[in-house]
Symmetry: C2
Subunit: 263 residues, 2 copies
Amino acid sequence: MLAKLWVIKIGGNIIDHPEGLSRFLERFSYLKGNKILVHGGGKIATRIAADLGVEAKLVDGRRITDEAMLRIVTMVYAGLTNKQLVAKLQSHKCNAIGLSGADGNAIRAVKRPVKEIDYGLVGDILPNSVDAEAIATLLDHGFVPVFSAITHDGHGQLLNTNADTIAAALAVALSDRYTTSLVYCFEKPGVLRDINDEASVIPQIRAGEFEQLRSSGIIADGMVPKLHNAFEAIAKGVAEVCIGHADDVLLLREQQFGTRMIR
Amino acid sequence: MLAKLWVIKIGGNIIDHPEGLSRFLERFSYLKGNKILVHGGGKIATRIAADLGVEAKLVDGRRITDEAMLRIVTMVYAGLTNKQLVAKLQSHKCNAIGLSGADGNAIRAVKRPVKEIDYGLVGDILPNSVDAEAIATLLDHGFVPVFSAITHDGHGQLLNTNADTIAAALAVALSDRYTTSLVYCFEKPGVLRDINDEASVIPQIRAGEFEQLRSSGIIADGMVPKLHNAFEAIAKGVAEVCIGHADDVLLLREQQFGTRMIR
């Protein structure tokens, strides 16, 4: 039987609220077993960009990462946020080690090809571009990798990369070696049957039920791609994908956390 | 016989010059054996601080690290500079892993006690505060740790810490496990007998000769504390301390690099 691995992603909304973030980090520290934390950015990069006079560039509503913006997200995500998270986890005796995809060549990416839009220095993760062995070496020696959403192309270029995608790529790549749960923590208790009722969490969705929930309109908007990606990760070997509130992270232990997606 | 370890520190002057930095990183990649890179800051932190309206605070000519400045050095040293170095080293097939002292609890420090001056969030490294086992685990698995000059106190606080001191503390702590050379790379070819003659490098200084070179005024000014610290590291188990030009780093292989200090 394979050892258990949690790959847990926290969104920018968690990062932006110090009290909720502190609660989450303490609880995450208590979670037993192999674990990886992946963090998004939060609003601080936007604020620092504005203070430095670097304008957020948008094309058709999509954010573009030019060189100036890449420097800022590298500073903020891989520097300030990552090291603050690591220092706080260490204070809870969780042996965190903060990484970007460049570190240990853990996650390579390619600059997104220019089609209608040139997204700039944004990285797409290809299959087999995660070095599972390097990450397993760290896990097996008791380190808790904490990944920021920065990767590299292997030729010296850092790239801004979506944190959800990083978490999924890590979970998929490590599922040969561990029974892997991919967990998305956000500020809702899970996938809701009624978006206005936080008590209407759907506890479990099987792959076969997803299409029906979508066509009936129960799962809509931003949840559709999230769940699509979840079932894709499951098809590639991840044991389960869970989505729920960051405060509830310890409920993962008894399978009572938010919405659980399985094969 | 113990395996060889190089602990190589590059100063801010190297960081600030892209061409020299590229040359150094390529040559560093070619150096065989276990190795650790420690980097200082460079002028970019000062520039970004100015752009963000954060004033460098000086008391009696000494730089003070207040909270705003700590955020900036964490962003720049542990984020931007560290990840750029790592990505470039990876492009040369050197398996760099960028770390602060908080990562893997590698280097703990204590906030410098307030005497005449309150230096703010500056960390002093105590004996036994380097986790040699964690770092050896990384080295023994082929990683090349790249340390920025940020540590933590173990209670969640990051601290700004002198890069020379970090390099010395790492070399001392690892000298039980490796035959350790501590190397300071800067923009001069070594310790000069005549400060105006770059050809006057003193190839070797033994501990017993240091006092005489100092009292005769050949070693003066900023070189005195540097060499004092070098011989202190040697007294604590480091095999040799070398100081020379970053361009010459590969001359370490045949003991032709700058000035070599030995017991």
